[in-house]
Amino acid sequence: MEKELKMPKLSPKSDDYFFGSWEKQVGDEVKKGDILFEVESEKVISEVPSDYNGVLKEQRVEEGNPISAGDVVAVLEVSDS
């Protein structure tokens, strides 16, 4: 099953983030808790982990671009295990 992964809200003050870098590439196996990507907001670098096991199918955001909380960041082919 494919699942769209959305940018979580990490800051009580701001919904705007600078998309820093991808830690997983399309085709990579992803385990729950693996870091998927990194963002910057309010002078804080935050790593965002996956909540699911699966395979990364799509990266919907380019490194260096702005994103907001709730934006779709990636598509994951979620596995049962």
């Binding site: 800051s11 009580p12 820093g20 910057e40 309010e42 002078k43 670098i45 935050s46």
Partner: protein, 327 residues
């Protein structure tokens, strides 16, 4: 709270120490309090070419470093005091208050009323004396703060002033603010006295600082992190995929020089020079000598010296071009 005394003035070593501490997962907050040799620190997703006057940094031997935390570029020197708090992460949500409340309490004890801005800076009478930034590692928050005590503000301003017509790259931009040195409002004669007073006031607020020291083996582990990451020029300069810069300057007696520059992952990938200067300089010869080199003053200067020795530009010297390229 643990406290690791350190006499290192090398920011790359201190950044490595912070990371090493987070990796130990001691389950307790650890404090570092440190000063540096004259140093420029850029944020993780910043572009050194956009934020740092690399010509001036080269000329005055200012260390250029990159943090793993976010935010803008700062300048530190022996007149600055840096604090690092490495603490177990309480939640995924960004939180500065647990650290800044403590620092503000210390300053209240010292007798200075400070305010916290919405950018998580600490201010006195509206002027910034402390910036704060964080990153997360291994379930820990690494919180850095800078304290301007007797920092050379003129060098700071010059080092962080870059003169460019246009710069295009994807990066976090610095926000420049009015600053103040704490020495203006505190009676302490030097940074070391301020540091000792800071520790004295902090100590009871955290129920006593428990001093820790590293073993020789642990120091080697820190040094390995430093070498692999923070002292690695690729980490400092090569992060940004592409930077496009346009610059121009009129040199009295020499004429106008216009440069169009492209840098990819820290390497000069395109250079066009034009203007009304007087020279037999072959632009193709210039670009072929420079393209593919790391785009930093110490890497470009020897090539420029060799070229201009053969084909001088009337009333324009190598230093002029270095300042135009990097200043």
């Amino acid at each position: 709270m643990f406290y690791l005394p350190t006499n290192s003035t090398d920011a790359t070593e201190l950044f490595a120490l912070e990371e090493w501490i987070a990796n130990q997962a001691w389950g307790e907050t650890t404090l570092l309090l440190w000063s540096t040799a004259p140093t420029i620190m850029i944020g993780k997703y910043q572009d050194a070419l956009a934020e740092v006057n690399l010509a001036l940094a080269d000329q005055y031997h200012l260390a250029v470093t990159r943090r793993k935390s976010g935010g803008g570029t700062i300048y530190t020197d022996p007149g600055s005091l840096q604090y690092s708090l490495i603490a177990p992460k309480a939640s995924q949500t960004i939180d500065f208050s647990r650290f800044l409340n403590l620092i503000c309490k210390v300053f209240r004890q010292i007798g200075v009323p400070v305010e916290c801005s919405d950018r998580n800076d600490l201010l006195i009478k509206g002027r910034k004396f402390s910036g704060n930034a964080q990153y997360n590692l291994n379930g820990y928050v690494i919180h850095h703060g800078s304290l301007l005590f007797d920092t050379d503000l003129d060098t700071m301003a010059a080092a962080l002033q870059v003169d460019q017509l246009k710069l295009i790259s994807k990066h976090i931009s610095s926000v420049h603010q009015r600053v103040i040195n704490l020495k203006e409002v505190l009676p302490y004669p030097d940074t070391e006295t301020f540091k000792q007073q800071f520790l004295k006031e902090l100590n009871p607020l955290v129920g006593g600082l428990q001093v820790r020291h590293l073993t020789t083996t642990q120091k080697v582990e820190v040094a390995q992190i430093r070498t692999a990451t923070f002292a690695n020029s690729a980490f400092i300069y090569d992060r940004v995929p592409t930077t496009l810069i346009t610059k121009k300057r009129y040199f009295p007696g020499g004429g106008l020089v216009k440069l169009s520059i492209a840098v990819e992952h820290g390497v000069l990938s395109d250079l066009k020079i034009s203007g009304d200067f007087f020279s037999n300089l072959d632009p193709y010869q210039l670009t072929s000598a420079l393209l593919g080199r790391p785009f930093r003053p110490e890497q470009i200067r020897p090539q420029l010296e060799a070229i201009l020795e053969k084909t001088p530009i009337y009333h324009i010297q190598v230093d002029d071009l270095i300042n135009l390229l990097f200043g």
